[in-house]
């Protein structure tokens, strides 16, 4: 099947593969070790799935903010995103 007209790039493929793998990983994790929703520092009830969503959405804004302030490349922003995601999973 010729999909060249869709102009896919390996970078976007890698990006979506990572997100897909994260979702699968979270799915497996929730089956192996089910977790009840909990109240974190935001005083809202979150499941691990909610925390992943907050991490991904927040990371997108961190990257946009980095681009606005410093421009590319985004390596430092990615590092901040990882720290942010860790904090979300730990405390939110």
């Amino acid at each position: 099947m010729d999909l060249s007209w869709m102009a896919w790039t390996w970078q976007t493929a890698l990006f979506f593969s990572l997100i897909f793998l994260t979702l699968v990983g979270m799915g497996v994790w929730s089956i192996k070790a089910p977790q009840a929703p909990r109240l974190g520092i935001l005083r809202i009830e979150t499941t691990p799935g909610d925390r992943l969503f907050i991490s991904l959405l927040g990371s997108a804004f961190i990257c946009l903010g980095w681009l606005a302030a410093f421009g590319s490349p985004l390596w430092w922003a990615v590092l901040i995103c990882l720290v942010y995601a860790f904090a979300v999973f730990r405390w939110v």
């Binding site: 007209w5 102009a7 790039t9 009830e45 804004f61 681009l67 606005a68």
Partner: protein, 289 residues
């Protein structure tokens, strides 16, 4: 007793998964893919990296459209929500007037967006429009094609005209669900009209009000057709909201890469705000406040 575990029913979900993938997920992925490339037509694409995102987050044009969008949503919410509550509280509670009132209130909601735009485009015209001509005959200098204030006035009033009914009907449903006993108790206690509103009606309407705010916010944040038909985004760029600007960029200028980056940032903002609204809504419900 042993339960039989059979998860074959999950295969029944497969058609809808494929349908959503085909109509929503893959198109969204395509937009992400375009946002890191550039094209000059002929289906030839060149790698651009994060260039378009950098341009969008630093673009005066984007900031201005975003600012106008927030102002528009804030203004119509500030008008439609209190007005909707006021109308709902004054609607008849029983008798023949109820269905008449409900039908009349529903009429604006049944009119398609582009027709609403056309109605107001003609209504506001200085030469043949009832509003425009009447205002000018009365000595009011009203012209939405020339004056920024008049253009905003027209677009805001049009949205209020189109959507206040929705807020009113939702609030009316909330009010109708309050048992008469609450009012009787309030009368016995000698509660004032304001106290009845503040401590009985408003808390009972909270659920429907949050839905009304969420619906009106999201709809107004994505508004395209009505202002496009009435003002075309003008005069100048005065009523160019995000979606109008996006369409200009994607279809008018055929800048697929920048437009894709623009729509992703737009999408992220809507996603964030909807998440905040949704979270606040569900958590308030859980706390029963």
């Amino acid at each position: 007793m042993n339960k039989t575990w059979n998860n074959k029913a999950w295969w029944m979900v497969l058609p809808v998964v494929l349908l959503v993938a085909f109509s929503a997920v893959i198109p969204l992925m395509t937009v992400v893919n375009y946002s890191v490339q550039d094209t000059f037509g002929n289906n030839q694409f060149f790698w651009a990296g994060l260039q378009w995102f950098e341009e969008i987050v630093n673009s005066e044009r984007f900031h201005a459209a975003l600012g106008r969008q927030f102002i528009f949503s804030a203004v119509i919410l500030a008008i439609e929500i209190p007005l909707g509550i006021l109308i709902a509280m004054n609607m008849p509670k029983k008798g023949w007037a109820v269905p008449v009132c409900l039908v009349l209130m529903s009429l604006p909601l049944l009119i398609p967006w582009n027709v609403v735009g056309t109605i107001w485009q003609i209504f506001g015209r200085v030469d043949i429009g009832l509003l425009g001509a009447a205002a000018n005959k009365l000595g009011i200098d009203y012209n939405y094609t020339r004056d920024i204030g008049d253009a905003w006035f027209t677009v805001v009033i049009m949205d209020v005209w189109h959507w206040t009914s929705l807020v009113a009907l939702l609030c009316y449903a909330g009010l109708q669900s309050i048992p008469e006993a609450y009012y009787q108790a309030a009368r016995i206690d000698g509660a004032s009209g304001w106290a009845v509103f503040r401590y009985i009606q408003l808390p009972k309407m909270r659920g429907v009000l949050l839905i009304a705010v969420l619906l009106r916010f999201m709809d107004s944040f994505m508004i395209y057709t009505e202002p496009f038909v009435v003002t075309g985004g003008g005069p100048g760029n005065a009523t160019t909201f995000l979606s109008i600007d996006l369409v200009k960029m994607a279809i008018g200028q055929f800048d697929l890469g920048p437009a894709a980056a623009f729509s992703l940032v737009y999408f992220l903002i809507i996603l964030l705000l909807s998440w905040v609204f949704y979270t606040v809504m569900t958590n308030l419900d859980k706390q029963g406040r």
